[in-house]
């Protein structure tokens, strides 16, 4: 039914347009990056409707986009990208960022080879599991005072490094230097602050993870060399976000933005898309609070990386410097940011929302660390725990077409309920160990079964689409050796 109504226009093998007449109120068309096969999956649920809903929001520029890992979310689809022009009444929406503000990924390289860890992966995973608190409602060993928390919110990774959790150079290799300008702790509710006091340095649950990986294949040798990676090299990937602090900020502002949307006469196709003009007092307040949550998430990943370095040191008996444990990069994938982009040949300041999408700036962009200037921004794409993850690089094509954005992961294909049903009576950790040699440790069986590889699209297919569409370039393919799930 949806399909007939949809009249999806195929632009090329990887681009599909949702015309403006799909839904009343669409100000711009929708644009989905997907293969024919993915489009078939997407047609089965309400994802298209969510892309169209975003196209109805005031001040949206060019189109409402979705990356190939798109799936049904709430408000924006997961994999959604949209930019709004504040000078034309463009909005900012907590529903375009989500509850886990600055959920993101960081990749750490090591000087170790896979052979160096032979017979040691299980022990190392145990050491990491003891060191990094994870699971539902996990609290860390750090207890912040209110004053100290304020510094976390204002300084992000910088707070963590100054507090002894890392090195100065880690900051350089973090998106935005690990600190989004404009953070305003006075915009944050006492409740969000309360939730934040005990959760810095915790992984959480759900799809968040910590993985020991190996570079399985180099797909662009020049870029891989610039990123300091080669075949057989061991890496560590950390995936988590702003924890209860971010959830509370989103919840607080969704309530306020419901009223704000009414005040500014914004008609919402979905209450979850509540928003306000980005340059209004409500819009500025949300951005100030969201930036605090973004900084909280960067501090969180920075602290966790420090503990990963410590766990490696304790288990392998060599210092992190001796082990060559340097940060390759850290990317956010749930965020709204003010960025300058070319619109009809003119530089315009836009509020770019990426919900389950990653910034992918091209070679030479001033935001890309100078060491990576010639190859572009590293883009880290986590896959499911049984197959692969990728490191990509941003491109000029992405800058021109997608506001410098690309996919963020494999993208779910099966509901969590269906995954639990399908995994009933099976032992995913034993299967992954026996069939693929991957050591898995988790706090909760439910989480593990919900995160089973079969619940996800194959990340190999997802990155194939973004590469062939030209919005990022494959650099290396990673394979998990050991996984920790919350």
């Amino acid at each position: 039914m949806e399909e007939r109504e949809l009249k999806l226009k195929k632009i090329d093998d990887f681009r599909w347009e949702i015309p403006r007449d799909f839904q009343p109120g669409m100000r711009v068309p929708g644009l989905i990056f997907a293969s024919e096969d993915f489009i078939g999956h997407i047609r089965k649920d309400k994802t298209f409707r969510q892309v169209a809903n975003v196209a109805c929001l005031p001040g949206i520029v060019r189109c409402s986009m979705a990356m190939p890992d798109i799936h049904w979310g709430y408000g924006f689809p997961i994999g959604g990208v949209a930019a709004f022009d504040p000078a034309a009444g463009g909005v900012i929406s907590p529903g375009g960022v989500g509850y886990d503000i600055n959920c993101g990924v960081r990749l750490v390289r090591t000087g170790l080879e896979e052979a160096d860890l032979r017979g040691k992966v299980a022990g190392l995973i145990d050491a990491l599991f003891r060191k990094v608190p994870c699971g539902v409602g996990s609290h860390g060993i750090i207890r912040l005072s209110r004053g100290e928390e304020r510094k976390v919110l204002e300084r992000g990774s910088g707070w963590a490094v100054r507090a002894g959790y890392g090195r100065d150079e880690d900051i350089e290799f973090t998106e935005e230097g690990g600190c989004l300008d404009g953070a305003d702790p006075d915009s944050v509710s006492p409740r969000a602050c309360e939730r934040g006091l005990k959760q810095v340095g915790t992984l959480g649950s759900g799809n968040h993870f910590l993985e020991i990986q190996v570079v399985e294949e180099v797909l662009d040798s020049r870029a891989a060399s610039v990123f300091g990676l080669a075949v057989g090299q061991v890496t560590v990937m950390i995936h988590c976000g702003s924890r209860g602090f971010g959830h509370q900020v989103c919840d607080d502002f969704l309530r306020k933005m419901g009223e704000a949307a009414t005040k500014y006469g914004i008609s919402l196709p979905d209450r979850q898309l509540a928003c306000a003009p980005a340059d209004s007092p409500e819009g500025r307040d949300y951005f100030g609070a969201m930036a605090c949550a973004a900084n909280y998430a960067w501090a969180n990943r920075q602290v966790i990386m420090h503990w990963v370095r410590e766990a490696f040191e304790e288990y392998l008996g060599a210092s992190p410097r001796e082990l060559g444990m340097d940060l390759v990069y850290d990317v956010a994938h749930n965020m709204a940011k003010f960025e300058t982009h070319l619109v009809d040949g003119r530089e315009v300041r836009l509020c770019v929302h990426r919900k389950g999408a990653t910034r992918a700036f091209p070679p030479g962009h001033p935001e890309v660390p100078s060491r990576y200037g010639e190859v572009g921004q590293p883009v880290i794409i986590p896959g499911d725990m049984g197959r692969n993850s990728y490191l990509l690089a941003g491109t000029e094509q992405a800058m021109r077409e997608t506001w410098g954005s690309t996919c963020h992961g494999a993208g779910r294909m099966m509901s969590r309920t269906a995954a639990r049903r399908a995994m009933k009576g099976r032992h995913i950790e034993k299967e992954l160990l026996q069939k693929r040699g991957i050591v898995v440790k988790a706090r909760s069986w439910a989480t593990l079964s919900e995160e089973a590889p079969m619940a996800y699209k194959d990340v190999n297919d997802v990155v194939e689409v973004v590469q062939r569409a030209g919005i990022s370039r494959k650099v290396v393919k990673l394979r998990p050796l050991g996984v920790i799930k919350g």
Binding site: Y74, V136, E194, S205, Q248, C250, R416, S444
Partner: protein, 136 residues
């Protein structure tokens, strides 16, 4: 009576109740029960909750997120509810339960929040029905 519906990324739960008190109680216990089993939780702690919202649906979302705040922010699992006021736009209740350490309990799904997306709260012949999507 509670039920679960498939959603690709998140969790949709359906709740019913003969009246609003029962609907809000069932929704709360259904949501918290998806996080951790509620059996054996005592009533050693009590919180007074007062909420206002523009409509019944939003009141239900606020109520559930309030309980998530107590669990995640203060470690309080509130499982018994005594409603003093409950209508389309306002709720006053005493919620009782106890402090729990989730790292030592059996846990299921981490629920980040109850969302407004595709929210449904409806009067039906024999009571009320609600359907909510939770971010997990």
């Amino acid at each position: 009576m509670n039920g679960e519906t498939d959603h690709t990324a998140d969790l949709i739960l359906e709740f019913r109740g003969a009246d609003l008190e029962e609907l809000f109680s069932n929704a709360a216990r259904g949501m918290l029960g998806a996080i951790t089993p509620l059996d054996g939780i005592g009533e050693r702690a009590e919180e007074r909750i007062r909420l206002r919202a523009p409509n019944l649906g939003e009141l239900l979302v606020c109520w559930l997120n309030e309980l998530l705040f107590f669990l995640d922010g203060r470690g309080l699992l509130l499982v018994g509810y005594d409603f003093e006021v409950i209508n389309e736009r306002e709720l006053v209740a005493r919620a009782s339960g106890e402090e729990v350490d989730l790292s030592r309990r059996e846990v299921g799904t981490e629920i980040k929040a109850a969302t407004y997306h595709d929210l449904l709260v409806e009067k039906i012949e024999d009571g009320w029905i609600a359907r909510l999507l939770f971010d997990i």
